[in-house]
Point group: C2
Chain length 235, copies 2
């Protein structure tokens, strides 16, 4: 086995590469010619942004999305016999909340070396900036959409946060952010603290922790903005 | 309020700064003169490594550890009226599994802007490289030390991993790593997968996912090495 599987982070939105990707990784990327990517067009654009001297035409891209079968993914990894392969996801760190994890899983089964690289993660950065418990936290992905199921889930996370002293982190489709804030205000205990982190690493970055009841009167519009939500209920 | 509170990541062990800290952050650090740190000596050494031109003698350090009272911490933040303040922890990202979170919590109460910066996190990097579910995961910190409590906790995390499809992440004091692996093998279901990630970002980096039963015969020595453990039990 000659190659390694590199997990290559990307920017979160329109920021400069130097702000979020270390120099050594910027120098490693142009040495890789095979990429497994969520979207070929955005991956190409990202690679040109990392280093405009990269000759995109000599690269090989393998598309990975929820329709990719295990057989296809296994085929993608064949190139590793001779070459390094990079995984690039749509935003942030591959393997966390994206299809990259399926490739990594197969790589371990095939005894391929997996190398994670440093870059921005909205989950980790929002946790750092929340002031909540970082010794014990859970990322829950998306909450249910149906109103009654969602209310139940919020209440469940609220009480688990208290009983286990565990920070609860979750995300929402950006066009439903404002509705989620409403639902959180309606279903959390008033004393539970809510951190809302929007546009992380961007000029417009906004990260704020307040008790749920204090968010109630706030005039904030999160519509279609990349946001992440954290809550913690203290004893 | 003139200043911001920057959360400044450090290297995980003896790696080059360019491998894990983006250029813009390396340029931001020398502009900050006030630092809240876990250990003044290692913070000084880190700052010199980031930029040897930094004049350490003109910097102001405030020590933060488990003995720091909320009153002291609140005092540390007074400088923010006039200056930016940086938080530096012993390894990795401040606010996650270290005392930095207490400072951030107070900062939000005082309406101070908190800015998380990109750097290496063993929790996030091991999750990326594990191949486990990154849509739903929990970091549990340290497991109990007492044998019966620890066995109970491992079994509880193993079954929660299955019932909630949630990746379970935890750490151990490095001199007890080998004992933890024994305890995991003894208490997990044979089909549960265990990822062991050691020396992340270092030359000697080792990250491997195998079923618990396959780890049993492996000859690995994790004694006193920085390691992180992840498990996932699939349906």
């Amino acid at each position: 086995m000659k190659g390694k599987l590199y997990l290559i982070p990307t920017t979160l939105g329109d920021t400069s590469i130097n702000q979020v990707i270390p120099q050594d990784i910027q120098e490693l990327i142009p040495t890789i010619k095979h990429f497994i990517v969520e979207n070929i067009r955005t991956a190409r654009r990202y690679l040109k942004k990392v280093n405009s001297a990269i000759d995109i035409d000599e690269l090989r891209f393998y598309e990975l999305n929820k329709h990719s079968s295990p057989n296809e993914i296994s085929g993608y990894l064949n190139a590793i016999k001779d070459f390094d392969i990079g995984i690039i996801s749509e935003a942030g760190c591959p393997g966390v909340a994206d299809p990259g994890a399926d490739v990594v899983k197969l790589a371990h089964e095939k005894n391929i070396q997996v190398v994670p690289l440093v870059g921005p993660s909205s989950i980790l950065m929002s946790l750092m900036a929340s002031g909540f418990n970082g010794q014990n936290f859970a990322f829950n992905g998306y909450l249910p959409i149906k109103s009654n199921e969602r209310a139940k889930k919020i209440k469940q996370l609220d009480s688990r946060s208290l009983s286990e002293n565990q920070t609860q982190i979750f995300i929402e489709a950006p066009y439903r952010n404002n509705k989620l804030v409403e639902d959180l205000i309606a279903n959390c205990s008033g004393g539970t603290k809510l951190c809302i982190a929007v546009d992380i690493t961007m000029e417009s970055e906004f990260i704020k922790t307040l008790p749920v009841k204090a968010w109630k009167g706030m005039d904030i519009d999160l519509h279609k903005k990349p946001a992440i939500f954290l809550m913690h209920r203290e004893k």
